[in-house]
Amino acid sequence: MTRARRLATLAAVMAILAGACGGAATPAPSAPPPSAQASAAPASAAPSQAAAVSPVPSIDTTPVAITVWDYYGESTPVKPALAGFEKEYPWITVDYQALDWDSMNEKFTVGVSSGEAPDVATLDMTWIPTLAANGALEDLSTISGGQLNGTPIADHYTKGALDAMTFDGKFVTMLFDFDTYALYYRADLFAKKGIAVPTTWDELRAAAKQLAESSKGSGKPDRYLYAIRPNTFHFSQFLFQDGGTILNADNTKAAFNSAAGVAAVQIQKAMLDDGSGLYWPDANNDLLPAITSGQVAMFADGPYYMGLLKTGVPDQSGDWKIAPAPYATQPGSYLGGTGLGIPVGAKHKDAAWLFIQYMLRPEQQVGVFTYAGAAPATTAALESPELTKPDPYFGGQAPFKVFLDSMATSTHFPYVGAWTEIDTFITDSLQSALLGQATPQAALDDAASQTDDALAK
């Protein structure tokens, strides 16, 4: 990952200054545009679950240039869609800018605060709580009139997705791809060793133990391990799977230090202690090297990892399969992904909304899978043939079904302004418990008290 954040911060300060010294206006071309060929959305807006409905404004075809910030990287589904969009909406030109996921949140924040925000941005769903709580995102319920491509927004998404897109009763983002966890495992090794695919935590521990091997014969397993990721994403998966929650019902107090939270840490600690788990903190960067070397043969992750495996470890094609993640009392995972948002201060909100709608059509949504290997968020795209056909990399399995089912039982992270901070409290407590510096209960209690303080502010 490229991480020249100090420079980015410097640039940020400059940008704030530049913003303070007068914003740059985009000059509008003087020639009148050709008449709109796109049909406006019908005015009869069906009420969506969260939307304050207002009539859809008629389309303004004054030439505009919209700026789009995209963190997808080389495999982006956004860039290939631009030509089609500009053809359909000839009065809109798109200034496409590729950014890093790493620096996107920061640049977005600076952009919004300095009045230099883009018109549309891809945003990680885990940033949405902080951004929305600080008023950085436009209310899409109002801009859209509750309609997406002519039908109610609520008809395009699952309930979990709609919840994730809503802040304070209003849509603040449109889910573009979704992320929810399932179990990736080396099916070839499972077959060779006669291991059954685990469905419960006990079976997971047994399978991990059976799978792990010591290549040097020293007794300490060093290959075919289960990757233990000490972060809130993976912790919350175990937490939800034992019936726990991160915060209490009204988001005012920490709840992750419950018995379920302790159990969620303990199962991971147990796998580290018996040698069947591999401790892999985020600072180690991506897991791919450990997968390539055979150090890791089982891990939990989201659908985007299918694409990473295919491009990163092509010679293990046919070896991997994906199963629903094993659980203690109920299936569960965090629900995240990428949202499309319009920042407060965007200059061309209507054109931006047209762009978002275009990107959420099934044709473009399928691109999320075909270009990026990730999971499109709208239900129509999820049912398309590209996503339901057998995948040779996964031994002829159609793995999307697994993630789709997982999405139904997934929960987004709490929508509180202090989320980014709480996330780090939890991560610290996990690392401290998994590295044996504190008991799981003590570590989680410590994080919970910091969380309570942060929520009280």
Partner: protein, 288 residues
Amino acid sequence: MTWRRRFRGASAGYLLIAPALAATVLFLVIPMVVSAYWSLTSYNGIKPPEFVGLQNYVDVLGNSRFQKAFENTIAFVILGMGIGPALGLGSALLLDRSLRLRGLFRAAFFLPTMTSLVVVATIWKFLYSDAGIINAVIGFVGLPAVSWLSNPTTALPAVVVTSIWQGFGFETVVFLAALQSIPRTFYEAASIDGAGRWAKFRWVTLPALRPTILFVYVIGIIGSFQTYDQIFVMTNGGPIQATRTIVFDLVDRFNRLDLGGASAVAYILVVFLAILSYLQLRIGEERD
């Protein structure tokens, strides 16, 4: 002389410094004033700032993470400044003689300083990784591998080593230049007085280097307090905040849209550095 005449006399000078002055005011003075104001407000960059007096300073100073960041930074400064300049002086002394390939050594020592810290940190991150060269060497001697950057005990020293490696070339070059400017006659006089190598170093070299040592420490300590890049690349402040530094804390607040808190951290750092630099200069003056 009236003000007008005095100005006219110096007008060419003012004209010449005008661009630099304008840039300084625009990019340094104005942001500093704005930031000072922000530090007294609750401000997220989007909604208008709301005046809260010194509340941000109270919050920051009482915050356990800031305290941890402060401790880490002090440890970073003490370790880095304890070893770095000494290493720089040592290598400068070695190079300050008619050595073959001296130019090559000098360039080699200075090369890391010219390399971007992000690049250096990335290279060291690989060296420190579980399957990296350092662990390979350790394994060769029969010792167990160490997760240098994932272990809260070793992470900070590991980052310090990287910083020293990156920075001591600068100190070497500065010390070498100073060493070469010491008149040789001083050493000759010392020799006549019967001084040995240590006595010459203690009574000739060190006193002559005092301004340079002061310079290296003032610059080095300020730089160490501003440590961020290598932390960001190598550990991202972790594990368990073991490498969180003051500037890391500042950027973290900025990313969480706590611009008031971030500005307060910046000013606490500025005040602290100002006091420290003043003390150092006073110590330097007293000795002279």
